[in-house]
């Protein structure tokens, strides 16, 4: 089922969606608009705030609307769409990222608050082509179906292990309870975290 390496001609799901979106736009709107960058422009409000942060090891400086969430900044302004918008109210965990080494709900984190902070998202955890042990464990244990909650699950799971809250299945369940999976892949998720926990301790 799992393919080790995609063939060169294959497109990822995201590339396919982007291509489809561009095709759709080209067919419907004047050329000038179609050439606009895919990411949302900076808000026109004069009252923007400068935010300087490090995201996945890279320095980022950006002007943001003070109302913006960290999640919207990542997705809409920086193109980091790994963190997902599920409920947008801190109830589902799909938006989980690490801020200064802690897992947080990026949907309830004001972007303004991360000025001077260090952020790691799902895009920043693999070591080149080598998956993080938690990513590999999720594949090994089929710990997903639709995959929408998976980036949040993996970021929460890595933190769960690092916090020392993965000592037993019961503890994993308790400390992962902020991440909902409506497909119900919980059995695989708990098994994946057990596997990755052992691997992360070795590493």
């Amino acid at each position: 089922m799992t393919q080790s390496k995609p063939a060169a001609f294959e497109m990822t799901r995201r590339e396919t969606m982007q291509a489809a979106a561009v095709a759709g736009v080209c067919g419907l709107v004047p050329k000038a608009q179609a050439q606009q960058p895919a990411l949302a422009p900076a808000p026109e409000s004069a009252a923007t705030l400068p935010v300087t942060t490090r995201i996945n090891g890279e320095a980022v400086s950006i002007e943001i609307d003070p109302r913006a969430s960290l999640l919207d900044m990542l997705r809409e302004r920086l193109g980091l769409t790994g963190a997902k918008k599920g409920c947008d109210h801190g109830q589902c965990g799909a938006c989980t990222v690490h801020l200064d080494g802690r897992r947080v709900a990026s949907c309830l984190t004001l972007a303004a608050k991360v000025d001077g902070g260090e952020i790691v998202t799902i895009e920043g955890i693999a070591d080149g082509d080598t998956l993080h042990p938690m990513q590999q464990a999720f594949i090994d244990h089929d710990a997903l179906q639709c995959g929408y909650c998976t980036p949040g699950q993996i970021m929460a799971a890595i933190a769960c292990v690092r916090e020392g809250h993965a000592a037993s299945r019961e503890e994993i369940r308790e400390y992962m309870s902020g991440n909902l999976c409506r497909c119900g892949a919980y059995m695989g998720i708990v098994a994946a975290i057990e596997q990755a926990s052992a691997k992360m301790r070795e590493g």
């Binding site: 409000s45 947008d88 709900a105 309830l108 308790e174 902020g178 991440n179």
Partner: protein, 333 residues
């Protein structure tokens, strides 16, 4: 959401000055897990945010000496993990780790948590004229009374409001007679937690004995050996990550197998963190067994006023107290 300005304060006085200058539409923000959430729902509509979460030394926690001190900016996750708190005051640690999720506990502060707003669905989801709510729009009425009231309070309600006080940590603090430290333009003051939470009465929009310009700077808890025989027992619709249907914070002093002093406060059933004084008095002299404490537990609900769908909270609440007494007594002490 209305347009905003945002300012991060480094000191308490800087925060108060910024707040005062900003005018009526200013709010302090710490972790933001309540305020920002309610801004997205249109329930809170500030135009200026003064961030108090980066105030220097605001996360100070002191566990030596005659009392505990928790700086308002300490994170819920950190206090829940504090080794002394876990050993000597499990009721406090449990009230924190049984609340929210680890993500939210990494954001929310123990000071901000005192000011968490109710989860009453009509309060949260009725902005913009969808449902009346006396808390959200004073004088507009209450859609919960006679509505879907399964989650509503049975203690401390009024004809204007039945919304449950949502917190767990404030319930544990109420059981242990905590004191809330505040600072505002008029200076610093201390408020016993029993006076900090207001009954809804005819003015349910007034919830806390804090002035608009005041900041919670810390929480003091008088030391007690009863902390060793303590627990926060929380009953929810699901096993984890849910608000309490009923909860009990219990701390006991036990001598020769009998209770000599009891601290009992309830969550999930009252319009404010609910101190169960009658239960405390009746527990004295009793053995800490489920059967022996039944009458004392039921006494907490003598004045309960159930609505249409929340009558179960009376029986559930009494059993929760009885179980909590047994759990607390079994702690090493």
């Amino acid at each position: 959401m209305r347009q905003l300005t945002y300012l991060r304060a480094r000191t308490v006085s800087e925060a108060i000055t910024a707040f005062t200058r900003a005018g009526a539409d200013a709010r302090y923000i710490a972790g933001g897990t309540t305020l920002y959430d309610l801004m997205k729902l249109g329930v809170e509509r500030p135009m200026h945010l003064v961030d108090v979460s980066a105030i220097e030394n605001a996360d100070r926690v002191e566990t030596q000496g005659d009392s505990l001190f928790f700086g308002a900016g300490a994170l819920m996750a950190d206090v829940a993990e504090n080794a002394v708190v876990r050993r000597d005051y499990p009721v406090l640690a449990e009230s924190l780790w049984k609340a929210a999720s680890q993500q939210l506990r990494n954001m929310a502060t123990v000071g901000g948590n005192l000011l968490q707003r109710t989860r009453c669905p009509y309060f949260r989801n009725g902005a913009g004229g969808i449902y009346p709510c006396n808390k959200r729009e004073p004088g507009s009425g209450c859609a919960a009374i006679g509505g879907l009231d399964r989650g509503q309070a049975v203690l401390g309600t009024s004809d204007a409001c039945t919304a449950v006080s949502p917190g767990d940590w404030p319930v544990a603090l109420t059981a242990l007679d905590a004191v809330v430290e505040l600072t505002g333009t008029a200076g610093a003051r201390s408020v016993p937690i029993a006076e900090f939470y207001l009954l809804p009465g005819a003015a349910p929009h007034r919830e806390f004995a804090i002035l608009p310009d005041e900041i919670v700077t810390g929480i003091s808890v008088p030391g007690t050996l009863a902390g060793r025989h303590s627990t926060y027992h929380k009953i929810r619709d699901r096993e984890s990550y849910a608000f309490a249907l009923a909860s009990a914070a219990v701390a006991l002093t036990i001598d020769k197998g009998r209770i000599t002093k009891a601290h009992v406060a309830l969550g999930g059933v009252g319009t404010r963190p609910w101190r169960a004084r009658q239960t405390e008095a009746l527990l004295v002299g009793s053995k800490p067994t489920r059967d022996a404490v039944q009458a004392a537990a039921r006494a907490a609900f003598a004045d309960a006023r159930p609505g249409h769908h929340n009558g179960f909270k009376i029986e559930l609440g009494a059993r929760t107290i009885a179980d909590a007494v047994v759990i607390a007594a079994e702690r090493n002490g």
